[in-house]
């Protein structure tokens, strides 16, 4: 089965705290791509990162970092020193290489609330 699970429905933290959003995926393919998108309250979908299955290096971009572990089929997203503007729904998505019909397979999303 091709599936993405984001078990955390909603997370609420106080500004400046660090927060990690979990993403666990299932796929038959050995080649695949993983994505994170942000959906702020305004509703648009903003691309954050794309990672292929052969690149297990962690990625850091400013306050954002991503931890990809093939052994546990996880691609977790950490926000360091969170800010109110980080409040959004965050989606993890999977694109299998061979069996996808080109679609992204989406998790249900994690709603992140950053309190001032």
């Amino acid at each position: 089965a091709q599936k993405v699970t984001q078990a955390q429905t909603e997370i609420s933290v106080v500004e400046k705290e660090d927060v990690t959003l979990d993403c666990v995926y299932e796929t038959r393919d050995t080649t695949y791509y993983l994505f994170w998108y942000k959906q702020p309250p305004s509703g648009e979908l903003v691309f954050l990162i794309r990672r292929n299955s052969f690149d297990e290096q962690n990625e850091i971009s400013g306050r954002y970092s991503w931890n990809f572990q093939k052994s546990t089929s996880s691609f977790n997203f950490t926000i360091t020193a969170s800010q109110v503007v980080d409040s959004a729904v965050y989606f993890c998505a999977l694109s299998p290489y061979m069996d996808s019909n080109y679609q992204l397979i989406w998790g249900a999303g994690t709603k992140l609330i950053i309190k001032p």
Binding site: V4, T31, Y32, Y33, F35, Y37, G43, E44, L45, F47, R50, N52, F91, A93, S95, P96, Y97, M98, S100, N101, Y102, Q103, L104, W106, G107, A108, G109
Partner: protein, 116 residues
């Protein structure tokens, strides 16, 4: 560049009415997609296109039709609207030059549709 644009932003339809959701991209992308997002859920693929004149069904195509006469435009047609089609509709595009899945998809701002 405007990226991916969608019109209208919001529409209310009566049961049985029909309408066309417009999508245009100015990035010269070959691939285009239509997704729907139901409340509290990730996105599901309705239709996709790998180039002008070529379209194919996604996961949830029933009740919808598409056409792709130009590279830029990918309209989605709803015939005989039903309450189950109440959703937010997103159009997306990707370069498509590699001919393979896994490319980053860039999304329009969405169309919120309410069928009463």
């Amino acid at each position: 560049n405007a990226g991916v644009t969608q019109t209208p932003k919001f529409r209310i339809l009566k049961i049985g009415q029909s309408m066309t959701l417009q999508c245009t991209q100015d990035m010269n992308h070959n691939y285009m997609y239509w997704y729907r997002q139901d409340p509290g859920m990730g996105l599901k693929l309705i239709y996709y296109s790998v180039g002008a004149g070529i379209t194919d069904k996604g996961e949830v195509p029933n009740g919808y039709n598409v056409s792709r006469s130009t590279t830029e435009d990918f309209p989605l047609r709803l015939e005989l609207a039903a309450p189950s089609q109440t959703s937010v509709y997103f159009c997306a595009s990707s370069r498509g030059t590699s001919g393979a899945p896994g490319e980053t998809q860039y999304f329009g701002p969405g169309t919120r549709l309410l069928v009463l």
